[in-house]
Symmetry: C2
């Protein structure tokens, strides 16, 4: 085709995502949801006929996310909230009369990431007691179910929002090319070299014999377990030096016969 | 080795997991955390010097998870909470003076799943305002950070609990051998057969020509787009029949010249 295809981006643009809360009865939940959204970098909150908003309770629970509440769009019906959305995903419990495409939050994040940028996405959350109605669910391309305890699967609505927006953020985090970091953080010391560790283990063995902990005629099992333990920890140079320094001090302190 | 190795199970035993909340100031958060735990099948809550517990607020926010609150263990210091734990994981913001092994919640769930069954695991959550102290963090095998908006990364503590326990449950859900279901649910109708769909598309084309929508001299592009759309939806037999029945009805309604 000679036409340029719209760019299918792997990234999720926060401006494309709307969290839509339908007929929320407890305004504290609206505040908590706003906070949840902001922690994950989302700001577009839409409230369909909230029972009580704005309210002190909502603002109190929003903590530092008042701006999300200030910008929240309040509408009277779902149509207004989702009319221009190209992807509508509805939170749902599993059992409904008519099977509907159902994903878990992680799969939802994949679908959102695959959705063309610039086409708004709506995540629908229903009433505290009864969720979304069948009519509202029928507006959705797919439903999302948070895998939960079959005996008690009712997440608080703001908690459900937190889980969903967390998965969206994780999708972003995992999609970014990442320089693997040592232990997941920027480490401050280089790894101990093998030679350094051999010096450590040799010293260690000697000291353990000196203190009569190790039988010099059968040192192997213990030393191997020690090696395995220390190596699993992947010591850095300073750590290996610390261990070595401790052994030196023990040596100095040993009471000679 | 002739000894039997302790079984390294892939499963996560809920009884092994303790959610430990340290010096929680707002008891509503304790209730919300209890609810979050229960939705994900966990029940062992430990409270280290909570400011106000038990309380009406905690019970109100726990919704149907009062039993978790009833069974919550209240202790005076962290030692009591984690002494027998073989794996201690602490919620942490990224920047601390000494780098410490850091994982995200998904990696945390993998570590928990790999931990030997029967050895208790503690997930530590800190104060609302200041998190865990350096001393408390130093008790941890690793720290967990929830990837968040760098400009606003402070999740409410009960929300952080919800995300963590959700990841534990997802680990379970994804670990269980799953029979792939059609669209993620137990579908109620068999897929439409290709032959049935061909009949549908042929009929559709004819009807579109009849209503002067389709130029019989150049039908291909439109029909291909229609096919592609319908096939993407993977219709079942009943759905294909519905479409076919609609076309039949159109045919009957066409005003003949």
């Amino acid at each position: 085709m000679s036409q340029t295809e719209p760019a299918m981006q792997e990234a999720i643009n926060p401006d494309d995502i709307r969290v839509v809360m339908v007929h929320t009865s407890h305004s504290g939940n609206i505040g908590a949801a706003a906070r949840a959204m902001k922690t994950m970098g989302l700001t577009r909150l839409v409230l369909v006929s909230p029972a009580d908003f704005p309210s002190e309770e909502a603002y109190a629970r929003s903590s530092g996310a008042q701006d999300v509440l200030d910008q929240a769009q309040v509408v009277e019906d779902l149509d207004e909230a989702i009319a221009e959305c190209g992807l509508v995903v509805g939170a749902s419990a599993r059992s409904r009369s008519l099977p509907w495409p159902l994903v878990n939050p992680r799969e939802m994040a994949d679908r959102v990431a695959d959705h063309p940028a610039g086409s708004p996405v709506a995540l629908l959350f229903g009433r505290e007691r009864s969720g979304l109605t069948n009519e509202e669910l029928a507006r959705c391309h797919c439903h999302v179910n948070i895998p939960a305890n079959p005996d008690y699967s009712s997440l608080n609505v703001a908690q459900a929002v937190q889980v969903m927006v967390y998965e969206l953020r994780m999708r972003q985090v995992l999609a970014e090319p990442q320089t693997p970091e040592r232990w997941g953080v920027t480490w401050d010391q280089p790894p101990a070299r093998s030679e350094q560790l051999e010096g450590l283990f040799d010293h260690w063995e000697k000291t353990l014999v000196e203190i009569d902990f190790l039988d010099p005629n059968n040192p192997r099992t213990l030393m191997n377990k020690l090696r395995r333990l220390i190596l699993r920890a992947q010591p850095d140079e300073v750590e290996a030096n610390i261990l070595r320094g401790m052994l030196t001090q023990v040596d100095k302190s040993i009471r000679k016969p």
